[in-house]
Symmetry: C2
Subunit: 602 residues, 2 copies
Amino acid sequence: MLFTQTFIPTLREVPADALIVSHRLMFRAGMLRKLANGLFAYLPLGLRSFRKVEAIVREEMDAIGALEIKPTVVVPGELWKESGRWETMGEAMLRVKNRLGGDFVVSPTAEEAVTSLVRDELASYRQLPLRLYQINTKYRDEVRPRYGVMRSREFVMKDAYSYHTDASSLDETYTAMGAAYRRIFTRCGLSVIPVRADSGAMGGSDSEEFMVESAIGDNTLILCHTCDYAANVEKAACKPDGTEASPTDIPALEPIHTPEVKTIEQLCAFLKTDAQRFIKTLIYRASNVALDLSGAPGSGGLEKRKSSPDAPEVYPEAFFAVAIRGDLGVNEVKLAAVLKASEVSLAADHEVVRLTGAPVGFAGPVGLRTIPLIADLSVTAIPEGVTGALVADTHYAHVVYGRDFVPWLTADLRTVVSGDRCACCGGELYEKKGNELGHIFKLGYKYTRSMQVRYLDEKGQAHIPLMGTYGIGLDRTLASVIEEHHDEAGIIWPMSVAPYQVIIIPITYGGTVKAAADTLSAALETRGIEVLLDDRNERAGVKFKDADLLGIPYRVVVGDKHLAREVPAVEVKRRGEASVRLVEAATAADELSRLVYRELGR
Amino acid sequence: MLFTQTFIPTLREVPADALIVSHRLMFRAGMLRKLANGLFAYLPLGLRSFRKVEAIVREEMDAIGALEIKPTVVVPGELWKESGRWETMGEAMLRVKNRLGGDFVVSPTAEEAVTSLVRDELASYRQLPLRLYQINTKYRDEVRPRYGVMRSREFVMKDAYSYHTDASSLDETYTAMGAAYRRIFTRCGLSVIPVRADSGAMGGSDSEEFMVESAIGDNTLILCHTCDYAANVEKAACKPDGTEASPTDIPALEPIHTPEVKTIEQLCAFLKTDAQRFIKTLIYRASNVALDLSGAPGSGGLEKRKSSPDAPEVYPEAFFAVAIRGDLGVNEVKLAAVLKASEVSLAADHEVVRLTGAPVGFAGPVGLRTIPLIADLSVTAIPEGVTGALVADTHYAHVVYGRDFVPWLTADLRTVVSGDRCACCGGELYEKKGNELGHIFKLGYKYTRSMQVRYLDEKGQAHIPLMGTYGIGLDRTLASVIEEHHDEAGIIWPMSVAPYQVIIIPITYGGTVKAAADTLSAALETRGIEVLLDDRNERAGVKFKDADLLGIPYRVVVGDKHLAREVPAVEVKRRGEASVRLVEAATAADELSRLVYRELGR
């Protein structure tokens, strides 16, 4: 391809809103342009690399027997009402009313659409397992789209869905997907960190996220210095800091007057001690609690209900007190998992007052009977604590777990931070910011139950199939390749996703130089190599700078000087390496295609 | 691929709403399923053929130097407001408000999005011509989507846009596109009829539509029995039926009393003559008329205005009388073209009364001074006519064109019908119904002017580039292949777009038959052939029926009987042909791959 025959508008300047390397380089290299906030158009160079990522994803999906389908991008809102997500997806889901007043959704994901197709076709266990995928446009109406295609509103996702008769079949597909994802990222030249993740709003249980490290990442990862433990902070566990205290000779509970002392900091200053001695008590409101609360304090008035005939029974709303060591934070995702709740959030001040009988700042576990008390494991290790007394301006000293209060439940609820100890090996944990490129989940019955999917077993009995879901963001994956492979001068493409494999730069495009450049280009193309020939009427310096910016793996400079040697030669340089070497012009095509195919692993 | 490892849910029954062959067969063959009215999901088999159509289109676009890009599907409404189509596109355009209240559009086409990209990047004449295309999701909110993917709401279009410094450059691309379109349809096995088309709401001048004949077609085509004239009825011309009359000895104009006679039929009965003698006069309202009306009767109060600073001056609204021979219809598209109007429609009754001074049914050209009169050519050839007298219950007899009235303009305005004479050769014209698969247009300055695109010429002078637009509907193209290639039993795929090239049917999948079938399948795949092996535990009859339904070009039956021959053999049959022949099992892979590659033209 001749440079002047394609459309690669390179830029010297950096767009003002481009805060990260991949955004800057994709714009400067003419890969991408902005149509509106969060909406980007791929130009020819960018699309070439994008299609290579797409092809790698498709190959790996096909290799594990997943079948490609193509549902629509715009889907009926009816399906989302069936699954219940019409209500729960929030404003990030782009909803449309068509001319006839019907509700539609510009797909943010496709559990509903694919499950509805499967529901209509599924009859027998013999059709299972069924593994379907699409590579298609998705839309999420991000409030603050940023960082180019790393967090855009419209993007392309590979989303796969699997259906199974039993857990071992689901497990097999889940494992195969995990392996395929590792191969995909490796082939794209990406170092991903697979982490145990919470499945969040998606529902379900086992899941794994594929993260890349990124200073602007959405996610906090907890990693271990010693072993290979890696988890999303939302789900990360750590070793408890001590064993359960069994204190003796602690004085009896003693009320202390603490006027105007409402925060942990104020209390620390007032009592001249540190936060590790305090038992902090927070009041939470939880929605759709599936955990059985019968017998729990304060649960008398609560009753389980079904939101639809096929839905499981839940308590629509319930309140809980959570006690935790003063220096720690409550991980709400862990709390929701313990309660089997769809959502948890801190109670409003007026609810705290109503439930604790005291102003905000004086909640405590001692004598609390209005709502169930859940204690983080850290509380069980405090030998002698201080806590709110459920009375204004009053705290208790000498509080002993088990003696002065017994929680309804104890559980691991803390947010793990750098310096905590690894639950696996005891090593020191540390934090990294990361971006999620892929995610695999076992969904269980969540959608197949709510959308009433059935198959018949060998005996003609109807059952609900198990389901898994598996996504990869293609745009993000491409941007992450650039984040990982670049230098000051520009992109350094891994061969697998390079837009072209060889760039030929004639010092001036004319005479014998032009003839040699054209001949080499044609010879490479005959060998199946993708070549960009910079035929522009520009100074060599400009062409070199653009070649570095575009990041095409092999650069070949064709000039009079080396062509005039006894054995005519050209200069070959691998992008990202410093050395330039001379290659005989006559054999350059063979040599270069050998190098390219070696890097492609063929 | 094993049949049991893919997902091809074939049906014996025909879906009730499937009115045309392609819709029926795509459903029965398990290619397609419905998500909602006008929204269809491709299943694996359908997607394989779809991707082949896509690949053919991409190859032919690349071959003429068009560059693939990928704008978003959801685009800012702002761009449509700039072009003016936010108002004119009507309800077929799906509009969305996002969470921040911004206007967005789910793209029905992409003149605006691509032109906005080009506007931002275009600086110099050296960047032109620029030919960009995308193959991407489109949405049109059809009121009555029908016929499966032949007229669905969501579909995939290849849409290309070109930008030029001059008309000859635009012409070159337009011609190359036309040739590429012919190759695309030929490669898909389609007989298309390229017709001169009106450019309708798209604006602009030269255009060509690529039609396939279809009983349920949206379009009426006018074709000539004698020459190769082909046109959309919206633009079709014909030879005038006579020359301009130059009558002598016609009596003077004579009013006749015609009480309660309002229609042509009533008048024919009343006067005992036929409609060809009547001069029918219709009153039209036209919007955004660019034709200069200065000096036209009744145009005194009209003033040209600009809807935006860069828009051309137009009369926002004007009325016209159109006189035409009584048996003919006015072609409103032709009328709009003559008036250079964005829209024309029959005036309301009260407007007719106001403008003609008579009840509806008594309009006529004689003495009409309130609005400009336009006469179809047919009127000029009536030697002695009858027409309304602009007075209730009165007509004129002995009306002579040129003597009793002189129109402001004469033009070809009639709707051509079967039996009219070809304007090119005088042959007899006939009608066909057709569906449009592709369309190429010269848009001129329509979008580049309204969206303020500029480039600098050699001397640094700013100019607006010319533009062309070129579309192909991929889903429609695929469905049309089935419309053209099928029989009672099912689809008969052309090799180029067949989902698989060979289907192997083992009579029973076990023992030596299984071994032979597996070996043949592997040998074919090694040779690059796409094979479906029907490993289902079904009766041979069921497999044969499904093979005919799926329409895979070569069917190979592997059975004990022929394997047991001295020279083991298999049965080979070309779908669509009656004869079955025995092929030596050992050489079947070579023989079949030779046949397949021959059909692919390789």
